[in-house]
């Protein structure tokens, strides 16, 4: 039972990643609307930022899987 709660808490890291990626994508859309010719550069920066932000969610996910199934 406690293990399940621990796994749920670990997977909560997804909240941060979701908020972060949401803000980043919103800003990217805004800046592409303002400067469509820089879309390539903006996309590159967005991809990098999303990859880094997403990593925290992945860590939480891996930890929760480890808690649930790898005892």
């Amino acid at each position: 039972m406690l293990v399940a709660i621990g796994a749920a808490v670990a997977v909560f890291t997804g909240v941060g990643a979701g908020i972060g990626i949401g803000i980043a994508t919103g800003k990217a859309a805004e800046s592409i609307a303002r400067q469509p010719e820089a879309a390539g550069q903006i996309n590159k920066a967005l991809l990098l930022g999303c990859a880094l932000a997403e990593a925290t969610a992945i860590y939480g996910f891996v930890v929760s899987l480890a808690l649930m199934f790898m005892q």
Partner: protein
């Protein structure tokens, strides 16, 4: 619920081993051999009849791909791009094939932590090797105390954290999509998994390939600038 839990535990804890005569090898190695045969065979087949005039369709696709990799390397690494383009192209092709291999029914090799650890260690040696190669011993060591000596411990920690995050990112993404696909297949085995498979296997696999190659390039560009 118990069935699901048992299957997940099986998938997550045991690295599947296949017996080939006296040899016992992990499944990821066997799938990697398959990918190697595919890529080497395609390379030999596609580069056999290259012509300067009136190129065939296959040659046009090949040229587009090679110039795309070269352009990407040159754009991010500047004059040294030519040196790194073959490595980046190779590793991109391998990860793309590995992530897509779930489509033909085998377990993707990148679901094995050992494979992604090896890939990220290769990236680490590339990053710090190129730093020492281009800057010399003194310049390479000096990179650790930039922008100021106070940051030395953080720069040293980065040596371990960069490959760790590369490794866990690829592994976690592939494992995550694999687990979700397995759950969907248990709940609804017919037709419904198809759109999910398109997203999790194809789209996510491609994104992770791009991210891995892109991050490696970025780290290299940062050390040799």
């Amino acid at each position: 619920m118990d069935v699901i839990k048992q299957r997940m535990t099986e998938e997550l804890t045991g690295v599947k081993k296949l017996a080939l005569g006296p040899l016992v090898v992990p499944e990821s190695v066997v799938v990697t051999w398959g990918i190697m045969i595919l890529l080497v065979g395609l390379s030999i087949l596609l580069t056999r009849r290259l012509r300067e005039e009136k190129p065939g369709k296959a040659q046009l696709v090949l040229e587009w791909f090679v110039s795309f990799i070269n352009g990407f390397a040159q754009e991010s690494l500047g004059e040294h791009g030519k040196l790194f383009a073959p490595y980046l192209g190779t590793i991109g092709l391998y990860i793309a094939c590995a992530n897509l291999s779930g489509l033909v029914g085998v377990t993707p090799p990148t679901k094995d932590l050992n494979v992604t650890a090896a890939l990220s260690l290769m990236s680490m040696f590339l990053i710090y090797g190129s730093s020492f190669y281009f800057k010399g011993l003194k310049g390479g060591l000096h990179k650790f105390v930039e922008p100021m000596p106070l940051l030395l411990p953080i720069n040293l920690m980065e040596v371990a954290i960069r490959p760790l995050s590369l490794c866990m990112r690829l592994f976690g993404n592939v494992l995550g999509s694999f687990v979700i696909m397995e759950l969907i297949k248990i709940l609804a085995p017919l037709i419904i998994p198809i759109p999910f498979s398109l997203y999790f296997d194809v789209f996510d696999g491609m994104i992770q390939t791009i991210v891995f190659v892109f991050l490696t390039t970025l780290f290299v560009a940062e050390t040799i600038e």
